[in-house]
């Protein structure tokens, strides 16, 4: 439908249809009349001419029989009373002209000789019949009729066309009024009601029903729908009112759950460290125990030899040398154990307490790596660490440890191939007077572009069901942004590796997300 028709109202459309319909019917009727006129005109004229000729022949029987040419002339002049006839003539039996008459304005030649029958030319018809009485031919009659043109014949249908047009118009008006009353008006009411509801949201509007037909059913349905909509709207309002409270409630629950999960994650990380530390402590303590046991046996042997006075000087010397070596060994192993325990203590205290303190960044990094590296020492992973030794921070070492630990763990678990391993570069440098940058990079698989926007979302993991909780990088993000008041960017290219760049102030501003926990 074109835009013009679309913009018309229902009334205008109906009016347009009726007008076009009326014009169409009148056109069809005109065409029918034209065809009728064209096809019936010649037979009609033939009948007309034949009738006139027969009458004229009849009244002229006696004039021919009794040779009264004057009377014949008078009789022929009666032809003027017939419309369209412009000339007539009577001929004797021998073909000679007996009497003739011609209309004043007629431009027709009375023929000297006759041919029988009726002949049509473009603008006239001529008839020639014998005048007979008692089966005797008395003479011949000829009549010429002027044929009116098609255009001049049409006015006779004027009244018919006028009457037809008027009838169709009246019918159209009746139809229009009936249609308006039966269809358009109820639809108009419905449309008006719908518009009013749309503008005012007042669902109490009811459209009056005038009939039991389809429009009536439509009105009923419309009213019912309005009622239903009103009821639902009311319900919706109630739900909307209570929704805000429910959202706040759920958000609180969710936050609580998140905190729990994060704490669990921290404890799990700590558990991993404990397992690693235990494993690491096992070796030096075992070595120390073996050395002590060997030394104990050697001492026992020397004591026996000394009691039995069989102790040789060379034996004692050897013992002393061996004892010194063992003691050294024991000493080294115990020192190693003590160092491990110290680091663990430091990390564990930091992790759990989330305490703010002064610390050396290199030392915290070393402690973190010391605790993390042992658990991966059987994997072909190479660590390259570069760190300024003189960076003294006043911040949260636990957060730094956990960030390093999570990023390294993330690289090993998601970035590097578990069989081929790879390289992890850790670079910490001062970028200006107040800020440092820590970069943790690997040469692993990289992160797919469609994932890179989501990696810091909680519970987003590509290894769901394979031990990944989806919280590691979320925790890193939270610690960097909220705890260290810094920022984190990720740069990754599939197949080349991933780099996390973290900037944070050396002195964390006092105002943080945990202001109450900033007391050390």
């Amino acid at each position: 439908m074109n835009p013009f028709k679309r913009s018309l109202g229902l009334h205008q459309k109906l009016l347009l249809i009726l007008t076009v319909g009326t014009l169409f019917v009148v056109s069809i009727a005109s065409l029918a009349v034209l065809i009728y006129e064209t096809t019936t005109f010649r037979p009609k004229m033939t009948t007309h001419l034949t009738t006139v000729a027969n009458v004229m022949a009849d009244i002229n029987q006696a004039t021919l029989e009794f040779n009264d040419a004057n009377l014949a002339q008078d009789n022929l002049s009666f032809l003027r009373l017939y419309e369209g006839i412009q000339a007539g003539a009577l001929y004797r039996i021998d073909g000679s002209q007996f009497a003739a008459w011609k209309a004043n304005s007629a431009q027709v030649t009375i023929p000297a000789k006759l041919s029988q029958g009726i002949e049509f030319t473009a603008n006239k018809a001529e008839i020639s019949i014998p005048v007979t009485r008692d089966e005797r031919t008395l003479g011949y009659l000829w009549i010429s009729l002027k044929l009116p043109s098609l255009l001049s014949r049409l006015p006779q249908y004027q009244i018919m066309f006028f009457a037809l047009g008027l009838a169709i118009l009246i019918l159209g008006v009746i139809l229009f009024i009936s249609t308006k009353h039966i269809i358009t008006e109820p639809i108009h009411f419905l449309s008006k009601a719908a518009k009013s509801v749309g503008q005012t949201n007042d669902f109490s509007v009811q459209v009056p029903k005038n009939s039991n037909d389809e429009i009536g059913e439509l009105t009923d349905e419309f009213n019912r729908m309005l009622f239903e909509l009103g009821a639902r709207d009311l319900e919706l309002k109630k739900v909307r009112d209570s929704l805000e409270e429910r959202v706040i409630e759920r958000s609180t629950e969710l936050e609580h759950a998140m905190t729990l999960l994060m704490n669990n994650e921290k404890l799990a990380a700590l558990g991993n460290i404990v397992a690693g530390v235990a494993h690491e402590l096992n070796t030096p303590l075992g070595n120390a125990l073996l050395s002590v046991s060997t030394l104990s046996e050697d001492i026992k042997k020397i004591a026996e030899h000394s009691a039995s006075n069989t102790l040789k000087r060379s034996e004692l010397v050897n013992f002393i040398v061996a004892a010194e070596a063992l003691i050294n060994l024991i000493n080294k192993n115990i020192e190693r154990s003590a160092s491990l325990v110290r680091s663990f203590k430091s990390v564990a205290v930091n992790e759990v307490s989330e305490a703010r303190m002064h610390f050396n960044l290199k030392q915290v990094l070393d402690d973190s790596l010391a605790l993390n590296m042992p658990s991966h020492k059987h994997k072909p992973i190479r660590f390259y660490v570069q760190c300024d030794e003189h960076i003294e921070c006043n911040s949260y070492p636990g957060a730094v440890t956990q960030i390093v630990s999570n990023l390294v763990e993330n690289s090993i678990r998601h970035g590097l191939n578990s069989e081929r391993g790879g390289d992890i570069h850790i670079l910490i440098e001062r970028i200006n007077e107040d800020n440092v940058q820590m970069s943790v990079a690997d040469n692993g698989h990289g992160i797919a572009p469609e994932h890179i926007q989501r990696i810091f979302e909680p519970f987003f993991t590509t290894k769901f069901g394979q031990g990944g909780s989806g919280l590691g990088l979320h925790i890193v993000h939270n610690l960097v942004v909220h705890t260290l008041c810094g920022s984190i960017q990720v740069h990754s290219k599939v197949g080349e590796g991933t780099r996390f760049d973290i900037q944070f102030p050396i002195h964390t501003p006092v105002k943080g997300i945990y202001p109450d926990k900033n007391k050390t």
Partner: protein, 182 residues
């Protein structure tokens, strides 16, 4: 067919003009008789007779001729094949008016003895030539009007004897009398 007749008649006319450039009285008479005979014959076709004028449906149409033997010949010639109102025509020479009681048309060829008073009450179309034809009870009087044969008509008598004369015939009549003449 009428064209051929017309051509033949024209040829005959031209031929007569050259050969008989001065027609004699006898020839003129013959032509006049023919026209007069044709008139007498034609009158019968424009008049309706009472039903009892004919014995039955097959009864002939009788034309009585008084005082004119040539007319008898001319009429016999005319009605060799021709019929009037579907009936065969009998030409009867009449010597005495009493012989004319059952005729339908009675022609009196003698202008001086034209008296139809004896058959004034009979349904006979009486035709005469004399001046007092209509006065003496005749219905039609033939007149030579400037060398053209015309006729006068007495409607009252025709009506009285029960003849219905066609308006067409009355129209052609030179004069129509509507009053009692005698």
């Amino acid at each position: 067919m009428w064209k051929i007749k017309s051509v033949l008649l024209n040829l005959l006319l031209i031929f007569s003009t050259f050969i008989f450039s001065r027609p004699c009285d006898a020839q003129i008479k013959a032509a006049e008789y023919q026209v007069r005979a044709a008139y007498v014959a034609n009158f019968g076709t424009y008049v309706d007779w009472p039903v009892n004028s004919f014995r039955d449906k097959e009864a002939p149409f009788i034309i009585g001729v008084m005082n004119d033997e040539k007319m008898v010949d001319s009429l016999e010639q005319e009605f060799k094949t021709r019929k009037i109102q579907g009936r065969s025509v009998v030409i009867r020479p009449i010597k005495n008016i009493k012989q004319a009681l059952d005729v339908h048309v009675l022609y009196n060829g003698d202008p001086d003895h034209a008296n139809f008073s004896d058959c004034k009450k009979l349904p006979i179309l009486t035709i005469g030539l004399g001046d007092n034809t209509l006065e003496s009870g005749g219905v039609i009087r033939l007149i030579n009007d400037n060398n053209r044969l015309r006729f006068e008509f007495n409607q009252r008598i025709a009506e009285r004897v029960g003849l219905k004369v066609s308006a067409k015939l009355q129209q052609v009549a030179l004069r129509t009398y509507d009053g009692e003449t005698q």
